[in-house]
Symmetry: C2
Subunit: 475 residues, 2 copies
């Protein structure tokens, strides 16, 4: 799905390059400015001006496709223009469920949301759904890494909160796989999300994150969060121009550090409610921004990351509709990573366990629907058509009997009983039915198999680094 | 979106033709069998066998595009392969809302649901959302026509429940526009939905409906309701083959009666819950069937009708998600009419006033999102980008001030306030907020302007026909 003509895409791209060359981008980390300067950029105080050739040459070095290796080969991910991966809601300070209510995130909530992500195959890799505020900030990266690496064999996410924390985290991932630092750097094993501070600003931890992930050959998902009318122009075209400029600047930095470093072009542009300034999702403008961002990503030839989302305050119709509208915006925009596709509420302020389950149903349905169908003679079943009289039924036709067990998708939370049965069963809405489902998923959870020596090495490393005081946040 | 290769589409089409030629279709109305026989079909008892050439020649006479004329020119509809029209949930025996609960449909409910459809421009034409069971069957067509023609200037729907009722209804529509019978027959002013009795059966009222609508040059939307695993084979390909065969038989009958009669190719194929046999919607199979049905419609070159829907028993997340999944299935299948896109619950057994409002938000959002965007210099706003410092905001940028009033979609039922504000306001879910919205829409309703002599003519005709005893149902 597209919103711009080819000429318009080229014009947006050229204007974004003009933004970087003429207006520049503020880069707060001296090390990053030095790298840009050494690559030929003009630097004035903390402003970096990048000419079009520099940007385009650097961006051209980014790989069009790569593999993101999980601990379990089953969860290795091909990242390219042709695949789509769904991620759970990330970075939520609060969690909620119908039994315990809305509360600040804790390590226990982080553990539960990690286990839920592990239990559903439609989630390709881990995101930190709940922010564990009971874990001290200097060791939070270690405590969350322990949970991600022991409770899951999918690819873990690392927050770029300073070099010490990032390098500790890299070593945890390497140890979990029994890899030396050098062997680890030969492939992509983990990823981070870089949010620019729109408009036109890269802060210290984000700049350092790009540098460190590139140096270690790990994946930066470089995602301006350009909300039209707030941190970005009020138009879709303006917001995307800014987003495109910032994404290219980040990608250029990664490629300056290490040509060929794996990156994902990120674009998460929606709009704000002009009455309150709050971000909103699943709006017409959000969908259009997704269609346009996909065109810009394809213009660069890079895999791209988008996101679903909702501003709703509970898992109701609004939450379902906004999340799904945003999801289709991303899907039809051709996004390859779609984050915040499950469990996100309140524009990301809260992760809902019930919403996560309801969203699993949508993602599973979409994935199955996009698998195509066959029209072989056997599928069409002319003989089966001939066996059933006009006005009859196919309930016991031979073709039905052969296939009924797995012909159709089996629902997770949808209740297809009739009104009488549903009423007799207590008239429970889907959101409330979801409670039993996440509880069962957690009850049935078992840690995935792990090489005992790797497991011990991870735990030893984490214990040692905690004893040493962890690592500071970079502000 | 497609699920079949071009060869597979051709193979499905050929197999459907084989079904009509070799297995035949049971046609319960003698008049329809006579018409088929006169056109060259082989008829044996109540079975009609149509060879491929007869079907293809007849179907080729159907117009690829036509205009459906409303009483208000604003609501005239272009029906072709390139436009999409949304319809409300139709044919529901029950209605529900949060104030009055679930109850059988009445004339009052029919009036309210008609007025709601009139109030939202995203609904292109009327459908009979609630079945008014307090209206005697022999005059129900007159009492509903009075409501549709006086409370709305959009195109009304007529049920094919027998020639007497259909012709009464045609005359009502003609009188409402001040047209003679002859002038009425010069253009399309109303439509019916023809449901075959799958598998391979056309009952008496449906056959007669096709004949009468074709004779009067009005629109038949010929829609097999082929539920995989129940009235149709358990596979998507099998269900679509049957659906395609039945739709072509109905279209052929219309073209035999009057070459060039306006028809819409209908396909409403989903699957059943194999545990209960109940129809379900928004499933992967439903989406695939939509993608495939669109390919078959385009193979014939005809506008086509699909439907959204849900099996949920209340307007919860499940209802929202299933309806929207089904909606996107129809949209991506390229459907031109999408029925049951608002208000439908319980697989069509109940029309929900609140669900209607929540669905309005989705349809309005989709329609706006698909309008495209501009990337002119003015839209991009390079100057605006230059005016805002790095890390600043665009809330008071000149471009924002110029455009903020109508830059973004204004929500109908979505609440974008934050958690604290929302909690202070009573923590009301979207479904419950919708109650005030439909009540306001009904309170603000005013009958659209109507030529007084036309209005009097309609009322006189209806009063006379009621006094004469109305018209019988054809069983």
């Amino acid at each position: 799905m597209t919103v711009f003509s080819a000429d318009e895409v080229e014009h947006l791209h050229r204007t974004a390059l003009r933004v970087l060359a003429e207006l520049g981008i503020k880069v707060l980390l001296p090390e990053a400015r030095d790298l840009f300067r050494a690559a030929g950029a003009r630097v004035k105080d903390d402003m970096v001006f990048l000419d079009a050739a520099l940007v385009e040459e650097a961006v051209a070095k980014a790989p069009k496709a790569f593999t993101l290796h999980a601990r379990a080969p089953l969860f290795d991910m091909t990242v390219d223009e042709h695949t789509v991966h769904f991620g759970a809601g990330a970075g939520c300070p609060n969690v909620t469920d119908l039994e315990r209510g809305r509360r600040p995130g804790t390590l226990q909530a982080f553990r539960e949301t990690t286990r839920l992500q592990q239990q559903f195959d439609i989630i390709s890799k881990l995101t930190p759904s709940a922010e564990p505020q009971d874990s001290p900030v200097h060791i939070r990266h270690l405590e969350t890494m322990e949970i991600m690496l022991l409770d899951s064999d999918k690819t873990p996410w690392i927050f770029s909160r300073g070099r010490g924390q990032v390098e500790d985290s890299f070593r945890c991932v390497a140890l979990a796989k029994g890899l030396s630092d050098d062997a680890f750097c030969e492939g992509a094993h983990t990823f981070t999300v870089i949010n620019t501070n729109s408009p036109r600003q890269l802060d210290k931890p984000m700049s350092q994150g790009i540098i460190d992930f590139a140096r270690w050959n790990q994946v930066s998902v470089i995602t301006p969060f350009c909300l039209a009318g707030a941190m970005a122009p009020i138009t879709v075209a303006g917001a995307l121009t800014l987003s495109h400029a910032e994404a290219m600047a980040g990608i250029a930095l990664a490629q300056i550090v290490r040509p060929g470093a794996p990156v994902v072009y990120g674009a998460f542009s929606s709009n704000v409610d002009m009455k309150s300034g709050a971000p909103v999702f699943g709006t017409p403008e959000h969908l259009k921004a997704n269609f346009g961002a996909g065109q810009l990503a394809r213009h660069l030839g890079l895999p791209w990351r988008s996101a679903a989302g909702t501003a709703a305050n509970l898992a109701d119709s609004q939450a379902a509709n906004e999340t799904q509208l945003a999801l289709w915006g991303a899907l039809l925009g051709g996004a390859n990573f779609i984050y915040h596709a499950a469990g996100w509420l309140e524009g990301g302020l809260t992760f809902s366990m019930e919403k996560f389950i309801c969203d699993m149903e949508v993602l599973q349905t979409v994935a199955m629907a996009l698998q195509g169908a066959s029209a072989s003679d056997d599928e069409i079943g002319f003989d089966s058509l001939a066996q059933v009289e006009p006005g009859g039924h196919f309930f016991d036709a031979p073709q039905t009997m052969e296939r009924y067990k797995d012909a159709f998708y089996e629902p997770l939370v949808s209740d297809w009983s009739n009104y009488g049965q549903w009423t007799d069963a207590g008239a429970v809405p889907s959101e409330a039915r979801a409670t039993a489902i996440w509880k069962r998923a957690l009850a049935e959870f078992a840690q995935p198999a792990m090489d005992p020596s790797c497991r011990a090495a991870v735990l030893d490393f984490i214990a040692r680094r905690k004893a040493e005081g962890g690592a500071p946040l970079l502000d």
